[in-house]
Assembly symmetry: C2
Homo-oligomer: 372 residues x 2
């Protein structure tokens, strides 16, 4: 139900994922609206629906996850907890999706804080950056964990055995940066973390593919990502102006039209956008709010691949390696489970009504579907 | 002596500033090399030279300011302290220039931390962003002061009476951001600071000209600035690829060449790059390390305008206004002078040899030159 074009484009994308990518999924939301859309593709009864009374609005932030315990995203989380799904995809408001899934799925054991990983449009292969906004205040140990999350993610997404990891800061020397990154650099270089840490990277390295995984806190990462998106948008608007400023230039533009379309598509955040929330007991793929069917399909495919690659287990293994630091100055080993949900104790969590499949649409299947 | 093309391009730029912009300046560095360059323009004896034995290398960081008390930049600071100059321009390593001028000029009274202000190439008028890297760990009160520094700077540079100020964070709602920006937002909205604070801005607003002054800490600002520069470079490389990928596209490119050159110039960091270090007892203009003569000329012109606009006094007045916060929870009123140079006490500062003009080149002038 989330995103600017829900449920039409979401359902269209899901149908394509089922047909073309062999993804098994469940649609969660207002049953009658989803059924109407499925009808257009002749897929009623072929894709199961789980009804949800409510949905988070795009403008709603973190608090909505408390106000709306029966939102489609909360119900989807519940399916994961029940083992009936392994991952979820949403194009809803990032703040709402992150808050709801943190609340419902909880942080996975050993992980201090979750992070959103995004892929940047570098060539020949994309660069992964995390955190893009899930955790704004991060301790040095948290950054080391983000490096572990990113490594596990890159192993599955890019198929690399030892993806290279860089720390986003303001100079290549270890002493450059703020207090947090300086200490994180120390931790990353001294311990044996089972990661390929190659040192600091700077803002201008983000699009050059210098490393496979760029690690940063959620505040800096979000600013950098939005700066990049805004700059690309401005640059293309300027280029379009330049290309159509004179009759001769307009003629030139006609000759280049197709290539430019390709280029704009590749760098357009609506195409490459979206992220994956890592570090929870379940995989959460957050598609761009403006996602059309094609973006939804690739988000479903991504969720499917991550679930098949057992991302949660990989993260657990990778994070466990980060604790074998030589100096034994780690603190997060003691804090598991207490530091992850600092705002409320588990008893405060509003009870979630039992998720009930809309009677006529969910087939009686025993095995959990791959990615709702 | 600083920069990739010193002293040739520096002297050429300085000569143009003297001839075309009526800037009065002093050249500081190795006297014989500067004299040789001046000779090319027939300006020997017309622009005074102050000899400096040493110069900071481009690779040298903050420590060099301690190791080299007779560096050209240290001597130039000394000229300001003596009242023989009102501002200095350098294309040297940013870290070295910032460290040396903090050490020599000291922070101006009432200012917690200095900030580097850069201008972003927005239209119709540029946007000022600070801090671009002078102070990486900033308290909320420091961000409020940066807003004051930026306001004073924008008043002179852009000629606006009440420039609008935005706080760079990750969402427009006051609650978005990290701990520091949330508190800074609170301080900026509750007090009467004599500033036009319009709220939060995000990364994608940097190039849209949404506000006149964007305030952020030196870490985030540096990452955002470099991300912008890197993205522009990547986008133009891709555009060039697209424009020359087929014979037809190449033909098109020919038709657009001039407009593209203009555009690239405008967005090229080597053109608009460089910054101004605000908050010290004297104005320090840091030109881009790759500066050619034209960039040096405009840096000299900028230094001249800031000195003529009495930027240091303006900052003092503007910062004084930020202390009249309604809640009286400010701490920086008590810390003036102690918090600015936390690493060393004044006694530790290595003694600077008396700056001595190279005998034959400095005319015996009473009035201080405007901008060395």
């Amino acid at each position: 139900m989330g995103g600017d074009h829900a449920p039409e484009e979401i359902v269209a994308g899901a149908v394509a994922a089922v047909r073309d990518h062999d993804v098994r999924l469940v649609l969660v939301g207002q049953a009658w609206r989803i059924r109407r859309e499925l009808d257009l593709y002749g897929m009623v009864g072929k894709i199961p629906i789980v009804h949800a009374d409510e949905a988070l609005d795009m403008g709603e932030g973190a608090l909505a996850s408390w106000r709306k315990p029966r939102s489609s995203i909360a119900i989807a989380c519940h399916l994961i907890k029940q083992g009936r799904a392994s991952a979820l995809v949403s194009a809803g408001s990032t703040a709402g999706v992150v808050a709801t899934s943190r609340l419902r799925l909880k942080g996975q054991q050993g992980v201090l804080r979750p992070a959103i990983a995004v892929t940047l449009p570098t060539r020949p292969r994309p660069t992964i950056m995390l955190d893009a906004g899930a955790t704004t205040d991060v301790k040095p140990e948290g950054l080391v964990q983000f490096a572990a999350l990113g490594t596990a993610y890159a192993q599955i997404l890019l198929g690399l055995e030892r993806p290279t990891v860089g720390l986003l800061t303001i100079g290549t020397e270890p002493a450059k940066g703020n207090k947090t990154t300086r200490r994180a650099h120390e931790l990353l270089t001294t311990g044996s973390h089972g990661m390929e840490f190659t040192g600091n990277v700077e803002g201008h390295d983000l699009l050059t593919g210098k490393v496979d995984v760029v690690v940063t806190d959620g505040f800096t990462g979000n600013v950098a990502l939005k700066t990049m998106e805004g700059t690309i948008r401005t640059a293309f608007a300027e280029v379009r102006d330049a290309m159509t400023s004179t009759p001769a230039a307009r003629m030139g533009a006609l000759l280049q039209r197709r290539r430019f379309q390709d280029l704009r598509d590749r760098l357009d955040p609506d195409t490459y956008g979206g992220g994956v929330l890592l570090g929870l007991n379940g995989t959460v793929v957050i598609a761009h709010g403006a996602s059309r069917a094609r973006a939804v399909t690739s988000a479903c495919d991504l969720a499917h691949r991550l679930a098949a690659g057992r991302i949660v287990e990989r993260i657990r293994e990778q994070v466990a390696l980060t604790r074998t630091s030589r100096f034994g100055r780690w603190t997060h080993g003691d804090r598991d489970g207490t530091d992850r949900q600092p705002d409320r104790t588990p008893e405060d969590v509003p009870r979630l009504p039992e998720a009930r499949p809309a009677a006529d649409t969910v087939p009686d299947r025993k095995e959990p579907p791959a990615a709702p």
